[in-house]
Amino acid sequence: MMKPMTKWQKVIAYSSLAIVLVWTVLGFLAIYVILTEK
């Protein structure tokens, strides 16, 4: 059973999660561009 996170812990955890998700979407785009570019 996990104790709830404090406000600041939530800010750090969710913002870093947001960064990696954005990076992953950009990664998908980059791979798509690299593979389809003529």
Binding site: M2, M5, A13, Y14, V20, V33
Partner: protein
């Protein structure tokens, strides 16, 4: 709880290495004997602090992770636009850095930091192991070195996820997945360093390789460098980030890389053998566990499971 043969061996080695006296040994054995047999019941019921409860990584390892993390992303940001120089998306990235010539300098400088981080890591783990051997507290099962048990754990974990086993295997401080990941990263690092150095010092490589091989080697390295980079990016984005951010139990983020601590829940679930060592090394952890299990009325009577004959039969 009745320990498996392997877990008992880990526990006894740890008690021996930590020079635990008879009274404390009795206390540890009693605690283990009253724990429920099902590890899932234990880790679902212990209270965990999201930022970690149990010490796992020292400050050197955390600095090395941070160095690798920052250099890896910066190298990708500067390196891919250099390779795909003519692509429409590469131009803005190169301009952001001040042109491709500046990108190149940044890329090489950051690469030197990455190599430093790798050497720092090798030094840390070598000196750490030597110190442990000297102190008589070295246990190869507690290291990242792959062992036959990892193959068994891999198989048992697949069986568990396929619904064929009720429990995940009892894994050590570093499980099979972490070992594969670690050596894949180490191999990738070496490929990047060798291929990168072949662009910077072609004459050096030509001087040590047989004449017939030198130009083939250069071509091979020119192919390896960008493709290994793409592979590494994919591994980080889809494997590593899944494991530390999205996996159930870790969401939204695992804090170990910052605090050096792992949650109690995670330790019992994925690193049960290391948790047994934590119980040996830390009397406070024993108290916490006992209190938590007691407050939830999950302790079994001493001897209930250790001696099945005295049970319901």
């Amino acid at each position: 709880m009745q320990l498996s043969k392997h877990a008992r061996d880990v526990l006894e080695t740890s008690m021996q290495q930590n020079k635990i006296d008879d009274a404390e040994k009795k206390e540890i054995e009693e605690l283990i004997s009253v724990l429920p047999q099902d590890r899932v019941v234990i880790y679902k019921n212990v209270v965990s602090n999201p930022i970690g409860d149990i010490y796992r990584y020292n400050i050197h390892i955390r600095i090395q992770h941070m160095l690798t993390f920052v250099t890896f992303l910066t190298l990708a940001f500067t390196g891919l636009p250099i390779y795909f120089f003519e692509a429409f998306w590469a131009e803005p990235f190169n301009s952001l850095m001040g042109g491709v010539n500046v990108s190149r300098v940044i890329h090489r400088t950051i690469a030197a930091v990455m190599i430093f981080s790798m050497l720092y890591h090798i030094l840390t783990i070598t000196l750490g192991s030597v110190a442990r051997i000297k102190l008589g507290i070295f246990d190869i099962r507690r290291t990242i070195i792959p062992l036959f048990k990892d193959i068994r754990d891999f198989k048992d974990d697949i069986l568990y996820f396929a619904g064929r086993l009720n429990e995940r295997p009892e894994m050590d401080k570093f499980n099979y997945k972490q070992k594969i990941h670690y050596f894949a990263a180490a191999f990738g690092n070496l490929v990047m360093i060798i291929s990168g150095s072949s662009f910077l010092f072609p004459a050096f490589w030509a001087s040590i390789l047989p004449e017939s091989m030198a130009s083939h080697f250069q071509e091979l390295m020119r192919l390896s460098h960008p493709h290994e980079a793409l592979l590494a990016l994919l591994v980080i984005a889809f494997w590593h980030w899944y494991n530390v951010h999205l996996a159930p139990g870790r969401f939204p983020m695992q804090w170990t890389f910052l605090t050096g601590k792992i949650t109690r829940e995670h330790q019992i679930e994925e690193h049960f053998l290391e948790y047994l060592r934590n119980l040996v090394e830390d009397p406070e952890e024993r108290e916490h566990l006992l209190d938590m299990m007691e407050s939830r009325e999950l302790l079994t009577e001493i001897g209930d499971e250790a001696n099945p004959k005295s049970g319901d039969s």
